[in-house]
């Protein structure tokens, strides 16, 4: 298949161009070990770590996407990343149901309560096992953010408990929460923040903002990148020159400065929805440049193919040739880059909100939750305010795992 081979060449050029993304040929990964027993042994001459012969046998008669899935499934870290991401995004969608409280449900008498995840008791005073319960909270009078367990009050953990109303994707409205304790008991799994809001609930609601910005941002910037890259590569000449100089200028300036300059243009006093959209647009506006440059490189080589010539001879319009015939061939690359670029958008939101120009309180996002930790005194006395950072770390790492795995899986060099 001629077009497949040239795509391979194109992607080789592409990887050479992005030096920091370059991967050594084939040798990098060894996910084949677990598979060797279940498949016929490879010929000794082909005993590369990837075990290509075995894979080629398994891949016979399958479609390219099936082969990619097959290769991805053998990559344990990539699958781990995928499972983590599925869990995180599910938790974000179901935030209202899983979270015991709403994101702005503040109890001003209980600031900086320590995490109660270690204070869920299974044994009561008589030393007997009982259903999981927590004790009531009694603030130590005269001291700031110091608490004792009130052993006289016990609040059992209940499943499917009624609480505040919420909605899931604006479709399902309900007031049943997965778990919680009866009023006036309070359950702060990961502790509470400066105004007594439940950090665990806010992490779940914050995930809705922080994680979805990654998805929407990457979709928008990929669309811009494919359009600009496609046009520049296909038409060449002056169009190409001008577009690429613009791209280079965008890449030349440290992105965060650009982001802040763009952000201040919108001023202050915006609603949370407006802020969300502005952040997505700003990040996508910065992010498309890398994509455009690489897609242009691929289009440059793809447009010399016979099938493009044939399409032209058939009298198709340029737009149709670009959209229907050329860009789909860059898709595997686009998907890989997309999954590797999502962390940029997640971190972009985190930084903007952390600097105080992103999502504003009382709305929750992982970035603005972390900004509570800016005060070194809070940070050292109440280290649980760092909990959202752990989730940022996990999400970014999972996207990196998945992206790396996808890159290896779509690499045609590992399977002839």
């Amino acid at each position: 298949m001629p077009d497949r081979r040239t795509l391979e060449e194109a992607s080789r050029e592409v990887t050479a161009e992005r030096a920091h993304d370059a991967q050594p040929i084939v040798m990098e990964r060894a996910p084949g070990e677990a598979v060797v027993e279940t498949l016929p042994p490879a010929a000794p001459a082909l005993a590369t770590p990837f075990n290509e012969a075995a894979l080629a046998l398994a891949a016979r008669g399958r479609s390219p996407s099936e082969i990619i899935w097959l290769k991805l499934r053998r990559n344990r870290t990539a699958m781990l990343g995928l499972y983590i991401l599925i869990a995180l995004y599910l938790a974000a969608v179901l935030a209202g149901f899983i979270a015991p409280y709403k994101y702005d449900d503040a109890d001003h008498d209980l600031p900086f309560h320590p995490p109660m995840i270690t204070r869920i008791h299974l044994v009561d005073e008589q030393g007997k096992f009982s259903r999981p319960f927590v004790y009531g909270i009694s603030p130590v009078s005269g001291e700031h953010a110091t608490y004792n367990e009130d052993r006289t009050k016990k609040y059992p953990l209940r499943l499917f408990i009624k609480g505040s109303r919420y909605h899931i994707l604006w479709l399902i409205h309900s007031d049943v929460h997965l778990f919680g304790v009866d009023e006036p008991g309070r359950l702060f799994l990961f502790g509470s923040d400066i105004v007594g809001q439940d950090i665990f609930s806010r992490i779940l609601y914050g995930a809705q903002v922080s994680l979805s910005i990654g998805i929407f941002g990457i979709i928008i910037s990929m669309l811009i990148g494919m359009t600009v890259g496609g046009i520049a590569g296909y038409f060449g000449g002056v169009t190409d020159f001008l577009l690429m100089r613009g791209v280079e200028a965008l890449l030349a300036v440290p992105s965060l400065y650009f982001i802040l300059i763009l952000r201040q243009m919108f001023g202050t006093g915006l609603s949370s929805m407006q802020l969300y959209l502005i952040i997505v647009i700003i990040l996508a506006f910065i992010g498309w440049a890398t994509e455009a440059r690489v897609i242009r490189g691929m289009v440059l080589s793809l447009k010399e193919q016979e099938y493009v010539l044939a399409a032209r001879a058939l009298g198709f319009t340029d737009a149709r040739i670009i959209i229907r015939h050329i860009l789909p061939n860059t898709l595997s690359f686009v998907i890989v880059t997309a999954s590797l670029s999502v962390p940029f958008y997640i971190l972009g939101e985190v930084v903007l909100s952390f600097l105080g120009v992103g999502i504003q309180e009382p709305e929750a996002s992982w970035g603005n939750m972390l900004s509570a930790a800016q005060n070194p005194r809070y940070l050292s006395d109440f280290p649980w305010v760092l909990a959202p950072g752990v989730f940022i770390f996990i999400a970014v790492m999972a996207w990196n795992f998945l992206g790396d795995g996808l890159r290896d899986a779509t690499d045609p060099r590992t399977l002839s």
Partner: protein
Amino acid sequence: MRTFLIRRLLAAIPLIIFVTFFTKAMLVLSPGNFLDELRLRPNISRDYLERMEQKYHLDSKNVFERYWYWLKPAMGGDLGDSFITAAPVTTLIGQRLLNTLMLTGAALVFSWALAIPLGVLAGVYRNRWVDKLCSFISFFGLSIPGVFFSLLLILFAAKTGWFPVGGIHDQINWDYMNGWQRLMDTLWHLVLPTIVLGTLGMAQYMRQMRSEMIETLSQDYIRTARAKGLSQRRIIFRHALGNAINPLVTLFGLSLAYLLAGALVTEYIFAWPGLGTLVYEALRDKDEPLVMAAVTMLVCMLVIGNLIADLLLAIIDPRIRLE
């Protein structure tokens, strides 16, 4: 060589114009200006405000006009005075620029000094424990968000008291220190921000170094060297390292922009008085001349940095000729 330098510097001019024009346009189009806060105070006369507005041409919303008012003196080397402090922006930026250069320089040294030996070790002892440790470190470094990492280190510093939690030098004793003590104090304050800023680069370089090393070691000339009976040490340091390190120098040029962007967050969290915090504050206060000057400096730094990377590559790799 000279033609190369001249051509590169000429090519930087449209870039600087593009970026500064864009910045100016964003500043002009944003709602309000630095006088808004003064306007709220009753003791400031309307007359004064109007005079200020005319003096700084804030009454015009024409982007091109406003840009020209900035560009004309800027071409003569006059970047203007700060709106807020009325001091020349060059004096405001000078020290900040040095501080940022110190931080980014330290981060570069940190990331290179760790990445090259570790990358070489990982490449030579592939799939052994050194390699596994290195790949863990690099995955960690690539994934940990700078904000979170900084906060973790500050937590560490606050708990142990081994490092200062922020700032560039001791606020109280600085005036009583001699030169040597001042140097040590600054270096001590530099440690944590350097680790944060250098970790991402270290992870990238280490990964790259490892894969370059693996590829180089599989080349024919290495086999020849082995066949000649050279020692492993001589093969690695004399024959492989020099060739494997080339792509890293290219990476150095690419990573400068990342480094400066990362410096903004790091400076902000560690209260490091650098260019990043300056731009952040200037944007917040709508101090236009300061923002413009800082952005110009930033682009110049990147152009010079990329130039240095290219020159370095030409020095290291005799196959490359600058023309």
